[in-house]
């Protein structure tokens, strides 16, 4: 089950904890993976860990805050892999947290640009080929805060909620061609981003998670693998909440 042999996948934000786990897992299922991100050296080392011999792994750096770079990434990934894109995983994202009354336009705009507009541009580019080929899988990594909101993250939660709405629309547009568009909304995942939390904060967080632990990047990778697999061919427009039970929308 869930094999991806012969499939080509683009994973954005592959230099981060969750993105690297997604890329590794898809590769493990047989897919050719194209890793994107802004940091070439980190991407290279992630690629080397995924496949020391370089088999079925490619690196395609791109700065998604640049609209032209986002527009060009799908074609670049297909050129690197030498095959059309079957799977797009929109994982790249950033945060610029702050309470709304002090949030600068610049922080709002940057998060909307990178976390919502860039995924849209990638979907648009990927869908053209997928619709024509009558197959394809798009999974975007949103966040629990896109569903529940979170103080200090008006920009980030707006972008992630936007991603969910966008995916539902794209699912309806692409459904007649067998292309599915879904979302995975992670809860608190143990990564560099959450390692900075203090002990007290961590305790409080865990108390709100029925499954009693922080999530691991592999928990997200498994959900993505399922949604991009052939077996998930009748699931589209959905948001899979992977959060240890922290929120059950």
């Amino acid at each position: 089950m869930f094999r991806l042999d012969g499939k080509t996948a683009l994973v954005t934000g592959a230099s981060g904890g969750i993105g690297a786990a997604i890329a590794r897992t898809l590769h493990g299922q047989g897919a050719t993976v194209v890793l994107s991100g802004t940091r070439q050296a980190v991407l290279d080392s992630v690629a080397a860990r995924i496949a020391p011999d370089g088999a079925r792994v490619h690196v395609c750096p791109a700065d998604l805050s640049d609209p032209a770079a986002a527009d060009a990434l799908v074609a670049a990934a297909e050129a690197a892999a030498g095959a059309p894109l079957d799977i797009l995983v929109n994982n790249a994202g950033l945060t610029r947290d702050g309470l709304a009354i002090r949030m600068k336009d610049e922080d709002w705009n940057r998060v909307i640009e990178v976390d919502l507009a860039a995924p849209f541009r990638l979907c648009r580019a990927a869908l053209k080929g997928m619709l024509r080929r009558r197959s394809g899988r798009i999974v975007s990594i949103a966040s629990i805060v896109g569903v529940t909101g979170n103080a200090g993250q008006a920009n980030y939660s707006a972008a992630k909620a936007g991603m969910i709405g966008m995916s539902k629309s794209l699912a309806q547009e692409a459904g007649s061609r067998g292309v599915t568009v879904n979302v995975v909304a992670p809860g608190f995942i143990q990564t560099a981003m959450t390692d900075v939390l203090g002990e007290a904060q961590r305790e409080k967080l865990l108390a709100g998670i029925p499954l009693g632990r922080m999530g691991q990047p592999d928990d997200i990778a498994a959900a993505v693998t399922y949604l991009v697999s052939g077996e998930a061919g009748w699931i589209t427009g959905t948001t899979l909440n992977v959060n240890g039970g922290m929120a059950m929308p």
């Binding site: 053209k128 619709l131 024509r132 547009e173 007649s176 061609r177």
Partner: protein, 79 residues
């Protein structure tokens, strides 16, 4: 038939997977050639690419038949 008409016809045959004989000037993409709304958008994009023209949304909406497409592109190319 003009070069443009030939090329339009070829694109329609390719995109919709229909027999060439069915692609008459009067043929409606949706009513006669089995296209859905997504097909018509894809066709317009294919025309744009093949002829290096831009077909704005309001013009695209009026392209319902093969002849509509040929006429529009010929007009753009002549301009």
């Amino acid at each position: 038939m003009s070069e443009i008409a030939d090329k339009v016809k070829k694109i329609v045959v390719e995109h919709l997977g229909v027999e060439e004989s069915k692609v008459t000037p009067e043929a409606s993409f949706i009513d006669d050639l089995g296209a859905d709304s997504l097909d018509t958008v894809e066709l317009v994009m294919a025309f744009e690419e093949a002829f290096s023209v831009e077909i704005p949304e309001d013009a695209a909406e009026k392209i319902a038949t093969v002849k509509d497409a040929i006429d529009y592109i010929e007009k753009q190319k002549a301009a």
